[in-house]
Amino acid sequence: MVDVITLVYLSLMFIALYMLAFFIILTFRNNKELMTYERPRKFYSVSVLIPAYNEQDSIKETIEHVANLDYPKNKLEIIVVNDGSKDKTREVVEKMIRSKKYFNLKIINKKNSGKADSLNQGVEMAKGELIAVVDSDSFPSPSSLYKLVGYFNNKEMGAVTSFVTVRNKNQNILTRLQSLEYMLIGWSRKLLDFINSVYVTNGPLSVYRKQFILNVGGFDKQSITEDIDITWNMLYHGYKTSMCLDARVSTITPYKFKPWFRQRMRWGAGGLQALQKYRKMFFKRGIFGYFVMPFVSLSILVSLVSFIFSMYLLLKAISAKTLSIGYSIALSSSIIHLQEINLSQPIMIFFLVILFICSTTYYHYVLQTARYEENLNLKRFLFLILYMLVYLALYPVVWFASIYKYVKGDFRW
């Protein structure tokens, strides 16, 4: 008879197989369009908002990257929103403005009130038809804005996001793992674009139609992940969202575990906030209610259940072995016998092997196609294994911490 543990295991395996099949089919069906973008039929005026809080070290370079975008300068406005920085962010930006080297560069100095509020104030001041949001530690590639603006040829388009790469990738193993993660996130986000389901427009570089931002009530000041919230709000209002894999922006990622964990915890709690806020949309209103929300919820659920399941099995095995070792020591008998080593669980192993081989091969294909590194090599393969077995295993821990943060009502950054 099939017991509960087996049923849980089989259910998880089925969901994992489904998701893998889903992304593989999407990839191969849309292979030719993955890297394409549309030329803008008109050059919209764009206001680039750079919200900044204590960013004296990176703000200058961010502004320089924005100023060097391949986009008509007379259509570009750069607004730095200084969110009450305590460092020299303000001085750095004002010095740049005084130098007159940077066309149409402005600054809003305000008391610290959070990123969403900074963006809203920036939107209020912006003259552009489109609003580009660039994090103050991110650096858009020259052609990125041009490639993103083309998506707004579609009158229903509300938000378009870019492909984020990690600038400090080679700093340490954590940043390398994040680089791999960003690559895979970007890829899957692009795939979701083919079913109109881009549900996050990232902070490093995303472009929004200003009128639509105003129509949905602006960025939510209560949300700790305003980028998730604004995207869901756009989808909720029936506006389109999209992603351009060829529009790249590099960003600086945390290189220490603690800030990394805090960042992920904030993302997680922000996701839960969004789920709570839009909960009434479950299985309503097209792809948003029927796919995006269930997909996000299921991803969280699978992550948590897998973790609990694995921990249960692991702790059970450890407890059994500890007790057994205790008895064996008391009896002065062998601690382990060969007969205890048993790998004959054919169904379980079949699914794990299939999943592992398929996902590793698929990820390899993704990295190769997205030109993550020049060549397929053993080092990259081993790194991928490390990512899959160690880095991804940390996700459920982050989710538990996020749930705790959310339940506690701790919505600080």
Binding site: F14, L20, I25, K321, S324, A330, I347
Partner: protein, 224 residues
Amino acid sequence: MVEKSKKWSRNKYIFIEALLVASVIFLTGIFLGSFYEKARVDSVREFYVDSETGLSDFELSSQIIYDFNLNCSFAIEKSIYFADQIYKESRQLEKYDSANKFTNDVISLHRRYDLLRTLLWKNMIQNKEKCSTSANTIVYLYDYIDTSLTTQSMQTSISNILLDVKGEYGEKVILIPIATDTNVEALSILREYYDLDKVPIVIVNEKYQFDNIEDLKNIRDYLI
């Protein structure tokens, strides 16, 4: 760039397609796994048929030896041989036991083996009564189906120490592990007769009972 509507129409069946692909792989996995498990059970079943025949042969041989007053040592030798054979098969079965079971085949097969082992024990008791022997019988009664983590660990340790003893003494020890919760009525009668109400328990030569794991340390002192 492809228009959104075109993209959607090209991909709108993706949910069903992925479901079909996942279902095919999933069902293939279930099918292959069940097939493999069935093949393993079949191979054990073949062993079982051989063992069953062997036991009948053993019973008949013992009967002839006693009826015709033939050499007793032959009967004992035969028991040891048969016990070792059934012991090796039981090891194979134990290996399958620890795998996840999708059918009840392994459990029912286990029950049949328990029956066979009980029969062997009964025959050993009879043989020992009729013939003097230097072989030791170690019967190990344990829980198979409903076991707590503590019991499982204790049983693994007992099993390990008995394996050590078997390894050291070879043919001088007949090791008969029998599960008590597979409803073998004959075993219940034997347990009642020898007053064996605790599980797990180890019985040496039907005289010495070890229901405390600590005492098993000295089991070698009780062997002939």
